[in-house]
């Protein structure tokens, strides 16, 4: 099977995740959209790993999963701290560092 299908799928998933991060204001949903983007990248890695018959892409995908786990843990801890302090999960309400 040709990998173009998987590359197109990964591109579309990445775009959906990217638009989600930009459009949604709920921090938890934004984190989920980041997960979608990371998964799209993983799909690209694995598709090329299949096409090149090289395991390196799969190792990279494994590292991406590791980083995604760290990101989810720290991000959700930040969401908890923010909610405890401000009673909100809206990204627009945490605008202290905005210009």
């Amino acid at each position: 099977m040709r990998i173009d299908f998987f590359l197109v799928m990964a591109a579309l998933l990445f775009t959906i995740g990217c638009v989600g991060v930009l459009v949604r204001r709920n921090i938890i949903v934004m984190l989920m959209c980041i997960e979608i983007m990371l998964n799209a990248v993983n799909l690209t890695f694995i598709a090329f790993s299949h096409e090149l018959q090289s395991m390196t892409g799969q190792v990279f995908a494994l590292f991406v999963i590791t980083v995604a786990a760290c990101e989810a843990a720290v991000g959700l801890a930040i969401v908890l701290a923010l909610y405890r302090r401000r009673r909100t999960t809206d990204a627009d309400d945490a605008s202290l560092l905005r210009w």
Partner: protein, 216 residues
């Protein structure tokens, strides 16, 4: 052909998800029927082949990703994201990455998504009234930018160079097994593996510190 199919899939999925969001069942059924008909028409030659199943899984993946973005209730978003991750695990299986498919199900759909579900239940988040998305410039900029980005990615894929620079690696026999993956992890990439473990410990300490009630 694949490009066209992907576009048809995403347009139909968008129509379907858009129909789901305001809660109008007739539109939902209509969108689903059209999408299914388009899928059948696109794959009518090889109805039982791998292409058909890949197309169906891809349709599900795009649809669930759109629901994650569009749906106002975070709980529905999480459940649909789990579905999306399972679809991607099936993709990994199609691409001979068995170990990563299992890891995807266990680590991603299991462990990480449990974190999301836990936080949403803990904060007792309700569905947003209306869908609070960015205002004015932000919203239309994001949507236009998204379309432009998709067009750019698809254009780049269309003009991808041929297969001249590819050659089979030496792992052709045991491709994708846990043994070959582990051999690479603890052989060639052992340093990166150790760095990943340091990263995990740092993230754990950081999460504990951030979630503490007071920092003294």
């Amino acid at each position: 052909m694949h490009l066209l199919t992907g576009l048809v899939i995403v347009i139909m999925a968008a129509a379907l998800a858009r129909a789901i969001a305001p809660g109008r069942p007739i539109l939902t059924a209509l969108g689903g029927g059209i999408a299914a008909a388009a899928l059948l028409a696109a794959f009518h030659q090889d109805l039982a082949g791998t292409d058909f199943w890949a197309g169906t899984i891809g349709f599900l993946a795009i649809l669930t990703a759109l629901i994650v973005v569009i749906h106002p209730n975070p709980m529905v978003s999480v459940l649909s994201l789990i579905m999306n991750l399972l679809c991607l695990a099936l993709f990994y299986l199609l691409l001979q990455a068995q170990t990563l498919a299992i890891l995807q199900v266990i680590v991603y759909a299991g462990a990480i998504m449990v974190l999301f579900v836990f936080v949403i239940m803990l904060l007792n988040l309700k569905a947003e009234e209306g869908l609070r998305i960015g205002r004015g410039v932000q919203r239309w900029g994001a949507i236009l930018g998204g379309f432009a980005f998709a067009a750019l990615l698809l254009w780049a894929l269309r003009h991808r160079q041929g297969h001249a620079w590819m050659e089979p690696g030496r792992h052709a026999g045991e491709f994708g097994t846990a043994a070959s993956l582990g051999g690479l992890l603890f052989g060639q990439y052992v340093f990166a593996t150790e760095a990943a473990s340091v990263l995990l410990i740092a993230a754990m300490v950081g999460a504990v510190l951030l979630a503490k009630r007071r920092l003294d």
